[in-house]
Structures are given as structure tokens and as C-alpha cells.
């Protein structure tokens, strides 16, 4: 385990509390991502993105070095946390020519646009993802989780209740 500090602002902590997610869980997610290199890093902004798939939720944490440019990094700040309830099922295809700013740290390569099957309440539908072309690890971006996926979850709950 690497020795780093993870800072959670009051604003983020309040937002987490509303979702019933503990700050400690997010911190552990960052420790784990740094330890195992299971993260994407944005080469333009310097932000990191990692995720944890739980029983009924996929949790994403966006975090960045507390002191940009300083080496080694001894502290990170959690900037955003988001989630979706649709379960990630399988990668359907990727668009190799659509290269993104996010890089897979484990494979040291840029991610590409992917399309992933997500499942919720026995309904399977696709959503766009950031995908590593090598390990195929895939992340739903914040705007996709916040709108199309969230609306789908709400509609499925309503119509299939």
C-alpha cells in the first residue's frame, strides 16, 4: 500500500452523505487505485478516474494531486463522486479511431470510445464508455451517468414496478 493522504472536502462529503456513500469508502477506492494502478488518468487535466463495482451500484471517483506538478505525489483531493445503478454487463464494441484524453495507467495507452451493455431490472441497453483497448476496462463518464443512465434507471423502475 502506498503512503498517501486523501482529502475530501466538506462539499464533496455532504454530496456523498446524500447518496449514502461514506468518505472512507471513497478514500479506500483511491488507495486501491494508486496501489494497483486500476485507474484512468486525463493527460490534459491531470485528473484520475477510478471505479468500484458493488452489488447494486458502480461508484466512480475523480481525484487529482493536491499539489499539481509536485513529485512524488503525497496527497490527493477527491473532486467528484458519481454513480449508477445499472450493472456493467459486457463491452459491445469500441471505436479505435476515437481516441480520448484519458489514458489507462495499467496499460499505458489512451482510451477509446466504447459502447457497453448495462443491465437493470432485467432490461439491457447500451451506453457510451471510455474504454482501454488493451484490458477493455471501461468507465461510464459523469455526464452519461448523470443523464441518460439515470433517466433509464428511473424509467425502468417506474415502468417495471
Amino acid at each position: 500500500m502506498v503512503m498517501i493522504d486523501v482529502v475530501v472536502s466538506k462539499e464533496v462529503e455532504d454530496a456523498l452523505a446524500q447518496k449514502g456513500i461514506s468518505a472512507d469508502m471513497c478514500k479506500r477506492l483511491v488507495y486501491d487505485a494508486e496501489d494497483k494502478k486500476t485507474k484512468f488518468v486525463n493527460k490534459v487535466t491531470g485528473e484520475n478516474l477510478t471505479k468500484k463495482i458493488m452489488d447494486n451500484l458502480t461508484l466512480y471517483v475523480i481525484y487529482a494531486p493536491a499539489a499539481p506538478g509536485a513529485q512524488p505525489v503525497t496527497a490527493y483531493v477527491i473532486k467528484k463522486v458519481y454513480s449508477h445503478k445499472m450493472r456493467m454487463k459486457n463491452l459491445v464494441y469500441t471505436m479505435p479511431e476515437e481516441v480520448k484524453d484519458w489514458w489507462c495507467v495499467k496499460d499505458n495507452c489512451p482510451t477509446v470510445r466504447g459502447q457497453y451493455d448495462l443491465e437493470y431490472m432485467n432490461v439491457t441497453r447500451m451506453a457510451p464508455t471510455l474504454t482501454c483497448p488493451k484490458c477493455q476496462d471501461s468507465y461510464v463518464e459523469e455526464d452519461i451517468a448523470a443523464k441518460p443512465v439515470a433517466v433509464a434507471e428511473m424509467l425502468f423502475e417506474k415502468k417495471r414496478a
Binding site: 445499472m86 459491445v92 464494441y93 471505436m95 476515437e98 470510445r113 459502447q115 448495462l118 432485467n122 432490461v123 439491457t124 441497453r125 447500451m126 451506453a127 457510451p128 455526464d143 452519461i144 443523464k147 441518460p148 443512465v149 433517466v151 433509464a152 424509467l155 425502468f156 415502468k159 417495471r160
Partner: protein
């Protein structure tokens, strides 16, 4: 040519039956469940028929073509009434082609039989003109500065005030390639794809950016908007597949990702009008959200076969099987019924849902007997699955 609405707009709601009536509520409740079926896998009685009705709704109901395009209040109330009349979709809609072109200096006008068409000189006369094309931001597209937004928001605001149960905020991208052709001139733009590809991309980049700004602006106001993205002039008859990809598909992907990031969507409706017999496979790789419909008009001169649509797209998105829109004007109801039957049987067990529709907008002079024939076929053969 001056225009006056057939009915003064302040008196329009009084010409229609209130949506508070029990009979409307009963129809609407059932229709909503049917409409949602392809997206939530809870299958109602039958597959829906969507004839993509536009000015036909106004003319059939005693209004005019220009009422549809110039009085969006009349348009949406007529579409809502038409849909209930034929037991179609539980939503009204308003959209047209050639959106946002007036921001680029294009003069648009309607006639007694045509939608908003470009008239006068082309705006982009040389590749240098393409370099100067602006990309409009949300601020530039507010209704007081933009006729396209003004017309669409009038429709949505009228729906919200008078027929809220059938309100559907929409953003029509139309076909970026077709609109670029309106700016440059169709023949010239097609030649430019070979001789001046950089200029083509400049024009398309500008249109995609502006359209994404428009989608985001409407979503800001109404919370969401269903986005209709077309490839109409960019089809297999006009362009080789690699050109369809470069000059239509790639710019559409750019638009969709940008618009989703700006809050547009979440529903995406891909409308591939015209012949896509040589380029349809690339469209499997469009960006999709959980609410995505694929609609392809023709395979050569024939309608795009629903069994092929199901095979290629059925595991990726919902699909719209089609009947030939241009035959909707004929007094041959049996032919429409038989083609509807064939297309329904080919597509009804699509894994992610199926809707029946027309190849493109149902014509202004559609024969109402044909609309009824397609609905009857849906009732007789539009069961979900092969059961």
C-alpha cells in the same frame, strides 16, 4: 406572401377537445404504456405505428401547410389530435429541416405545399467562405436572436400550457450534410467532398457545433430533449460509403457526444433517409444511449427490410421498421396493409423493441385510409415476439 393563422392563436385551444376528458385520459394512459414498451421491455398490446406526421396533420384537420411551419402552436395541437384520432403515439411533436440556417444568413420561406426551404443566393461561395463560418454558442441561439429556437420553444411552451400530457421537447439536428449542402449548393458541395474536403469539414464542424449548442440550450430550459439525427442527402445513392462515413457519420458522432455532454438527449433517434444499402453497416457503431432508435428508409429502391434491420441493429438498439412513405398517398389500403404485415413479421421479435413507421415524413397528401391500414396491421400482426 403574407401569412395569417387559420385560427387566431389565442382562440386555438378552444377549437380542440380538452385533455381533461375521461375518454382522452383512458386512451392516453394505454398509449403511454405502449409507447414505452420498446424502451423498457414491458410489452403492451401491440407495436406502435409512427407515420412521422408533420404538415399532413394540419391539412387533414382543416388547417394549412403554412399553419404547421409558421404557427407551431397549431402544429403540435393538430399532431396531438391526429395521434389520438388514429391511436398512434401519446406525444405531440414539432420539428422541420434546415434548422439554424437563418443564423448563417440563409433566407428561408414556406409555401402552400413546402416546408422551410432555402431561397436566394448561397451563403458559402468559396472554400475561403467556409473558413469564416461562425460556430454559434447557446447565447447566440436564444429565441430572441434565433428563429429556429423561437419556433420550437413556442411549440413546447404551448404544449406545456395546453396539452402537457403530450409534451415532447425535441432537438432536430436534421442532416448536417444536407444543411451544409444548403449553405454551399447541393451539387457544388458534393463535388467539394472530392475537391475541397477541408472546406466541407469546416462547414460540417460549424453546423455540428451550433446544433450541439442548440440541443444544450433546449435541454437547459425543458430538462431534456429527444434528439433526431439524420443522414439524408448523405446516402448510398449520392456518396460512396467511405464518404458517408467521413462527411456524415463522423460529424454526427461529434455532435452526439458534444450534445450529450451539454445535457441534450437522452433519447436519440437516428433517421437515415434515402438509400443506405451500401453504408448501413457503419451505423451499427453510432453512439447510443439506453433510449436509441435506428430508422433506415431504403435499401436501393425498396424499403429497408425489417429482418435485416433486426439482424444488424436489434441487439444494440430499438428499431423502426418502415413502410414506403411515398405509397401513403395512394388509395391502395391493401398494399399498405400487406407491406406493414411483412415488415412487422420481420421485426416484431427484435430483442430491444420495434416500432412501425414510414420511410420518412408521411406526405402532406397522405391518404388517411393508408394510416388506418398500417394501424390495422399493427393490431393484427404487431405482437411483440413471435408468439
Amino acid at each position: 406572401m403574407s401569412y395569417q393563422p387559420t385560427v387566431p392563436l389565442d382562440k386555438l385551444p378552444s377549437h380542440f377537445i380538452s385533455h381533461d376528458t375521461e375518454s382522452h385520459k383512458k386512451w392516453h394512459t394505454g398509449s403511454v404504456t405502449r409507447f414505452a414498451s420498446p424502451f423498457v421491455d414491458v410489452f403492451k398490446d401491440r407495436i406502435d405505428f409512427d407515420p412521422i406526421v408533420m404538415a399532413h396533420a394540419t391539412t387533414l384537420l382543416g388547417f394549412t401547410n403554412r399553419d404547421f411551419y409558421e404557427s407551431p402552436e397549431i402544429a403540435v395541437h393538430c399532431v396531438a389530435y391526429f395521434n389520438e384520432l388514429f391511436d398512434l403515439l401519446p406525444v405531440a411533436h414539432f420539428f422541420y429541416s434546415n434548422v439554424f440556417l437563418e443564423k448563417y444568413g440563409v433566407k428561408l420561406q414556406t409555401t402552400n405545399t413546402l416546408p422551410w426551404i432555402a431561397v436566394g443566393d448561397r451563403v458559402v461561395k468559396s472554400p475561403e467562405d467556409a473558413d469564416k463560418l461562425p460556430k454559434f454558442e447557446k447565447e447566440d441561439l436564444k429565441p430572441e436572436k434565433c428563429k429556429t429556437t423561437e419556433l420550437h420553444w413556442r411549440a413546447f411552451d404551448y404544449e406545456k400550457a395546453n396539452i402537457p400530457d403530450m409534451m415532447l421537447p425535441m432537438h432536430n439536428v436534421f442532416c448536417l450534410f444536407s444543411m451544409a449542402a444548403e449553405l454551399v449548393g447541393p451539387e457544388k458541395f458534393i463535388i467539394w467532398t472530392r475537391k475541397e474536403p477541408k472546406a466541407c469539414h469546416k462547414v460540417l464542424d460549424s453546423l455540428a457545433y451550433t446544433s450541439a449548442s442548440g440541443a444544450s440550450l433546449t435541454a437547459d430550459k425543458y430538462g431534456f430533449d429527444m434528439m433526431v439525427i439524420g443522414s439524408v442527402l448523405a446516402n448510398s445513392t449520392v456518396l460512396p460509403p467511405k464518404y458517408v462515413k467521413e462527411f456524415s457519420f463522423d460529424h454526427q458522432r461529434d455532435f452526439v457526444r458534444r450534445a450529450l455532454a451539454g445535457g441534450g438527449g437522452p433519447q436519440l433517434w437516428y433517421h437515415l433517409c434515402g438509400d443506405h444499402s451500401r453504408d448501413y453497416t457503419m451505423w451499427k457503431d453510432v453512439i447510443t444511449t439506453p433510449f436509441t432508435v435506428m430508422h433506415i428508409g431504403y435499401y436501393g429502391d425498396d424499403v429497408f427490410p425489417s429482418d435485416l434491420l433486426k439482424k444488424e441493429f436489434g441487439n444494440r438498439m430499438s428499431m423502426l421498421a418502415v413502410i414506403d412513405g411515398k405509397r401513403m398517398i395512394e388509395p391502395n389500403f391493401a398494399w399498405i396493409y400487406e407491406q406493414s404485415k411483412k415488415q412487422l413479421l420481420g421485426g416484431r421479435d427484435a430483442p430491444r423493441g420495434c416500432i412501425l413507421g414510414t420511410t420518412c415524413e408521411t406526405p402532406l397528401i397522405t391518404n388517411p385510409g393508408c394510416t388506418l391500414a398500417a394501424v390495422k396491421a399493427c393490431k393484427d400482426y404487431g405482437t411483440y415476439g413471435t408468439w
